[in-house]
């Protein structure tokens, strides 16, 4: 009976998640048994191997279309692509621990990071409200601890702020879920597409609360104020992780709901507030970015706008829009990870190299590093020859095709504003300044350098090789 409830297909679908979760346990056990002998790189290398293995196994599921665990988990091209984004994001932030953080804490941080990534991977394939909530909580609970890992007051502030605000958002999400269950009598997302629900006020209220929770987790305006503070306070690798993995996981949920879990005749009306919020985010995020003096805060604000761009692609809920969104998400992941890797190379023992004042004259002191940073910032701004440019073209054409011209207009305005913010940093790096370089040259940071090189290469390759097909949820 129950023995045969779940078959081999069910278990093989969640194998990537199991691999990541078990790797975290092994890292923790190794730290416990071997203690100091494992060291910084032992944990990072083991964690990376687990993530790579999970990535390879997950890729094997591409092209399948299965509903597993009684609808709780859906395995399709969409799931696999989001899982890969999460894995890349986790990998790119994990290696930054090679340059930052107290050595005896790296193993614990690695384990927490991997568990958080497991939550995000669960979100990629979540097919019921319960799996969505489980994934979001797994993702967030580990992050609360990770945010407070750095030994400074801002880190503690970040952890507390994130805990309180994110729990509030979870409350909204849960309330929305309860109302949705009340309206439909089901927790399965596919049941929400029933046409008769369009007339149910309970369903409308449920979706509204659900989207408020989601918008908070995505840090969309007006639920974005936590993001810059938390990003600034958290340790650099954790900031990199949050800016990529959290957004990817929650975007997967949002896209799945928007595409396949709303009654067709009411879908565009239900989703409209979300697109309005995305439009505001693109402007407010980029304006907020202009005044920042810290790279992490800058990325925090730019992330607000970048999620807005991705939502523009989703606005028409067309197949092409979803492809554009996933393409841009991949590009966004790589540019963010690259920029954070540059900051990791510039970090000293005690402090992180995120103060933008420290980047002044970098082009003369460390030309290669400055060139890499310029490349990533150009990608964030969406200029050729980077994947950011092609991604924006794809998003704009998706917007045109689905008739959301006002969103396209806001995207262009937002991009124009953001150009100034990114160009200011690039300009400062190449300013011929008096040589008051405060940063001492650091010993080689191999993992961060490898990450920079890989991100830059991948961003270039993506430009000439836009991918992603058959990704509908």
């Amino acid at each position: 009976m129950i023995d045969s409830l779940y078959g081999a297909a069910d278990w093989s679908a969640i194998t990537p998640l199991v691999i990541v979760a078990v790797t975290a346990l092994v890292v923790l056990l190794m730290d416990l048994l071997l203690g100091k002998r494992v060291g910084r790189y032992g944990a990072i290398i083991l964690g990376s191997l687990g993530l790579i293995l999970a990535g390879v196994v997950a890729a094997g599921g591409y092209g399948l279309h299965q509903t597993l665990f009684g609808g709780a988990f859906v395995l399709d091209g969409f799931t696999v692509l989001f899982e890969e984004v999460v894995i890349i994001g986790a990998l790119g932030s994990l290696v930054l621990f090679g340059a930052i953080g107290r050595e005896d804490r790296v193993a614990g941080a690695t384990a927490l990071l991997l568990w958080s990534a497991t939550g995000a991977m669960l979100l990629a394939g979540a097919g019921t409200l319960l799996t969505i909530f489980l994934g979001i909580e797994l993702l967030s609970l580990a992050l609360y601890c990770l945010c407070g890992l750095a030994p400074r007051a801002t880190a503690r502030e970040a952890a507390l702020k994130y805990l309180l605000l994110s729990s509030t958002a979870s409350g909204f999400l849960l309330y929305g879920m309860a109302l949705l269950f009340g309206a439909t009598g089901s927790v399965t997302l596919s049941a929400f597409a029933a046409p008769m629900l369009a007339a149910s006020p309970l369903f409308w209220a449920g979706i509204a609360f659900f989207f408020v929770g989601i918008a908070f987790k995505l840090s969309l305006v007006p639920f974005h104020t936590w993001a810059p503070d938390v990003f600034q306070g958290a340790p650099l690798p954790v900031t990199a992780f949050m800016s990529v993995v959290t957004k990817a996981g929650v975007l997967a949920v949002l896209a799945r709901v928007a595409y396949s879990a709303l009654p067709p005749q009411a879908a565009s009306a239900l989703l409209l507030p979300l697109w309005v919020v995305a439009g505001i985010s693109m402007v407010v995020g980029n304006v907020g970015m202009l005044a920042q003096t810290d790279l992490k805060r800058l990325i925090g604000y730019s992330g607000v706008a970048q999620v807005g761009y991705i939502l523009v692609a989703l606005a028409g809920t067309t197949a092409f829009g979803l492809r554009a969104a996933i393409y841009y998400l991949f590009a966004y992941t790589l540019m963010n990870l690259g920029a954070f890797a540059v900051a990791a190379v510039l970090s000293g023992d005690g402090e992180e190299g995120t103060q933008l004042a420290g980047y002044r004259g970098l082009g003369h002191r460390r030309p290669l590093l400055a060139a890499a940073m310029t490349f990533f910032l150009l990608a964030l701004a969406g200029l050729p020859p980077t994947a950011g440019f092609l991604g924006k073209i794809l998003i704009l054409s998706a917007g045109v095709a689905s008739g959301y011209l006002w969103l396209d207009a806001l995207l262009i305005i937002g991009t124009a504003i953001s150009l100034y913010g990114y160009a200011k940093v690039i300009g400062a790096m190449y300013a011929r300044d008096e040589h008051r370089s405060p940063t001492t040259p650091r010993p080689v940071v191999p993992l961060a350098w490898a990450s920079i090189a890989l991100c830059a290469l991948a961003l270039l390759l993506l430009t000439f090789h836009p991918f992603a097909s058959s990704v509908l949820p």
Partner: protein
């Protein structure tokens, strides 16, 4: 009746009762305060110090660990009741759960979380 009817009735009764208990005493009762009546009630003993004192943060750690393991132990009960119906699947799930729990316990122990220094 609408399935939400009982919820609405429950809400109405709760609201009415709460209003009744807070409003009626003010209307009907007579206020005759004296020093004894206004004193903070603490088991009949005079309060000796400020309530918000300082105490070691270690209490939080112990309390938190207790709650975590307590809640995890509580999830054994449903399984134990339905053990025969769940058969091997249930047993395997529980073994996996216990392994994860044990690693967490070992971690806390080895890292000195259970010591009172």
């Amino acid at each position: 009746m609408n399935p939400y009817g009982p919820v609405a009735i429950y809400l109405a009764v709760a609201l009415a009762a709460a209003l009744l208990f807070t409003v009626l005493p003010g209307l009907l009762g007579r206020a005759k305060p004296n020093a004894q009546k206004l004193e903070a009630y603490e088991c009949g003993v005079e309060p000796t110090s400020a309530v918000a004192g300082r105490f070691p943060v270690r209490f939080y750690l112990v309390a938190m660990l207790f709650v975590i393991f307590d809640v995890e132990a509580a999830s054994f009960f449903p399984w134990a009741v339905e053990m025969h119906a769940l058969r091997f699947f249930g047993l395997a799930e529980m073994v996996a759960f216990v392994i994860v729990l044990a690693i967490g316990y070992a971690y806390v122990w080895k890292r000195g979380g259970l010591e009172w220094k």
